[in-house]
């Protein structure tokens, strides 16, 4: 495949790893040449993270060999990986919030018992690194005071400070604005130019196409293909990932607008620390319409969903079909909201939408466990719920279709389908839906998007919150951008683009 005489920076030969009965990696071989950006793409649960964890010494492979720079290398733990020149930037940063940038960088790599010499040394090399790779950060800033984009740079610097030649980035753009992501890719390009090898793990086809030289596709624990990025297309990659043709565009007709279902006026939310999270927000959603709320995570979207979903207090006025909704007090809870016809697919299905230790059938009743159909006398009618769950699983193609299996044992996409089936099939007037496809595989994304559009076409109002601009643009009929607790502006989905929305997401008036 490669006639180059230089040894690959990383070569994996026949890596296999099983967790109990689950074969997470099956005979995986991969060659990554030095000075390239190599993408690894695959659905959730395809085994990308397991493979990288093996490379970084978190797991030990059952079979197979690792070669670093042509040398066979054993990586029993992350110390060995660092020694071999491998650095990892995790999806969830591993930084100490109340330490400075400098302190985080030397954490675990201090030499000697006294901090001062280490800090001085780190400061010096930090400046050198910053000059070399255009990775500018303030060494004395506290982590909690800098943005996520900066925090990610600190993670990269941490790896470089430990003399990493190979950088693994796991879903690095999940928390970034489009422009921050562009900056990251510029930095990666710079690192590549300096001879570093980069492995980029992502599920976003666009990033693969933009940033990588070669790309490997994983499906169900196997490496299905490795191709030059220039020779492939998003459609081909999607097909390789899922194993069948996938519609990347959502098919939808123009909306048929009805009356205003949800009307929000001057909604304010102040959190427990007294910080104003929502600053007098006004918006409305009509029947038969999807209103998309775009924005970088943490700009008030979660609070908006929480207060509309009934589990955070707010002030202002919210009406549903013209009738006021209580924002505080006894009648401001999830139960009352559901009774009024508001269904809610929360942003974080693992913390809110599901009880991970509950079985699928117990989760199907969750929030609706008051439903008389689920009762028999003073007891819960378990059999009836199980029956209902079985039918819902069938309609929403949940796999495996076993109502007794605990929620934690389903894949992300199937968990989301369980939540979606529960909420959509209640035939709500308004559906609140947050990050509908976060951590969901492409095959399921397509299905979930179809369900949302189908609900819209039945004349329901949908408030969609997503940090994925692509998702907002393909689903929403109208887009509102949130920044720092207020709405920067609204656009009709057809009359805007990623660039304009990206600027609004960064707080720039357009």
């Amino acid at each position: 495949m490669n006639n180059d005489t230089t040894a690959p920076a990383i070569e994996l030969k026949g890596i296999s790893k099983a967790f109990g009965p689950v074969q997470a990696n099956k005979d995986i071989s991969i060659r990554v040449m030095p000075g390239t950006i190599h993408g690894i793409i695959g659905e959730n649960g395809a085994g990308k993270s397991t493979l990288m964890s093996i490379l970084y010494g978190f797991y030990k492979a059952d079979k197979g060999e690792i070669f670093i720079g042509g040398q066979k290398t054993e990586i029993p733990d992350s110390q060995a990986a660092i020694a071999a020149g491998i650095g990892m930037v995790f999806q969830h940063f591993k930084l100490v919030e109340n330490f400075t940038v400098l302190e985080n960088i030397i954490l675990g790599a201090e030499d000697g018992r006294l901090l001062k010499p280490s800090l001085a040394k780190a400061r010096k090399s930090l400046l050198e690194l910053a000059a070399e790779y255009e990775l500018n950060v303030d060494p004395d800033a506290l982590i909690e005071e800098i943005g996520v984009g900066m925090q990610q740079r600190v993670e990269i610097l941490k790896a470089l400070y430990r003399q990493a030649d190979i950088l693994i980035l796991d879903e690095p753009t999940g928390v970034l604005t489009p422009s921050e992501a562009d900056q990251l890719f510029r930095i990666l390009g710079r690192l590549r130019a300096e001879g570093k090898t980069i492995i980029l793990i992502t599920h976003k086809l666009r990033e693969i196409m933009e940033a990588t030289d070669t790309v490997s596709v994983m499906r169900r624990g196997e490496m299905t293909a490795t191709v030059k990025t220039a020779d492939t297309s998003p459609e081909e990659l999607a097909e390789l990932m899922v194993g069948r043709k996938v519609l990347l565009q959502v098919d939808k007709t123009p909306p048929t607008l009805g009356d205003v279902v949800l009307d929000v006026q001057n909604l304010r939310v102040v959190d427990e620390q007294g910080v104003e999270r929502l600053k007098s927000i006004s918006l409305n959603v009509r029947a038969g319409e999807i209103l998309g709320i775009a924005g970088v995570a943490g700009n008030g979207q979660s609070e908006l969903l929480e207060v509309l979903g009934g589990y955070a207090d707010g002030t202002g006025s919210v009406t549903l079909n013209g009738e006021a909704i209580d924002l505080t007090g006894k009648y401001s809870d999830g139960k009352t909201r559901r009774a009024r016809g508001i269904a809610h697919v929360p942003e974080d299905r693992q913390r809110e939408g599901l009880i991970m230790d509950y079985s699928a059938w117990e989760n199907t009743a969750f929030g609706y466990h008051d439903d008389p159909a689920y009762q028999s006398g003073i007891f819960i009618n378990n059999a009836a719920i199980r029956q209902d769950t079985e039918e819902k699983m069938e309609r929403f193609d949940v796999r495996p279709p076993n109502p007794r299996l605990a929620a934690k044992n389903f894949s992300g996409g199937n968990q989301q389908k369980i939540v979606l089936a529960r909420e959509i099939e209640r035939n709500p007037d308004l559906l609140l839906i947050g990050q509908p496809t976060r951590g969901v595989d492409i095959g399921a994304i397509e299905f979930i998007h179809q369900q949302i559009v189908a609900l819209r076409d039945q004349g329901k109002a949908i408030l969609l919150v997503s940090v994925e601009l692509e998702e907002i643009l393909s689903l929403a009929d109208r887009v509102a951008v949130m920044f720092d607790g207020h709405i920067m502006g609204e656009r009709a989905a057809g009359e805007t683009d990623e660039k304009e929305l990206g600027l609004m997401m960064a707080g720039v008036e357009t």
Partner: protein, 364 residues
Amino acid sequence: MDVMPKWAEVVLVPLISLLLAAILSGLVILAIGEDPIAALKLMIDGALGSTYGWGYTLYYATNFMFTGLAVSVAFHARLFNIGGEGQAMLGGLGVALACLFIPWPHWSLGLLGAIVLAGAFGAIWAAVPAYLQAKRGSHIVITTIMFNFIAAAVLNYMLVNVLRPKGAMDPATARFPEAVHLPTLHDILAPIGISFSKAAPANVSLLVAIVACVLIWLLIWRTKLGYEIRAYGHSESAAKYAGISPVKITMIAMIISGALAGMMAINNVMGEAERLVLNATEGAGFIGIAVALMGRSHPLGVFIAAILFGFLYQGGAELALWTSIPRELIVVIQALVILFTGALDNMVRMPLERIFLALRKGGN
């Protein structure tokens, strides 16, 4: 996919833990120069070798069933009720008031009245820490512990200054009237031709405890309330999303828990002592924590674990009586059992999971 089959999870793990605790206890006994085999034989003989021994074992087990259930119900809502001891003391006060001041025509009515009052007193004693937790965020572990001390002081005051009969030297109430003496297992089993020791204190409360196990099972796994309690215990954020009120669940779970702990008093106060004395609970409230841990907060598990601890209590008492093994060592043995079955659970579980994994792979 669960790694271990269910039977291994619920039977094998506790069994191996117990075995380890037994071996270690044996070594300790050996170290002080006694014969562990003889000691074990003595314990088994003393606790299970006669209906007299059984009577005591079951009597202790009854206490532990109530307190173990109490801790379990709170556990399901992820509340750690360490106040079972205090709640049981207050339950004792409730029983004493019911028995001394209401002229019951028959023991069965007296028992019902005592259950209600004991439960109510225990529930009130648990409700205060629950309220402080739900509304003020005062940690329930701290407040329930403190309430144990307050309960002991309240009881002391009541017995010394209010309930002590005139002229009595003993800080205890008068004996309860004949009408509220509960039938012992001897009285219950005699009509069906089984002869059971007359001297043993096991009484009709055992049956109440078993009924309580069944009712709590129904409550936790078959009712909406139990569903909400477990949901809240698994994930507070999810419970909020669903509209389950944390305040309501905290209050209700603790009230049920406190009531169960309080009801223990029908066994030790009404069934055995037939008057209220100081320190009537004898630490049963704390043993309840171990029982709930070992029983995995499942009523059937609690039932079995309670009998095991009943055996340890009675066998230990026999050991102290007949050998030179000091009473303190019995506590060491009990502590080892608690340590292995509760705290060191993973020590047994992890290797066992690995074995099952290897077996399954071999089978493929």
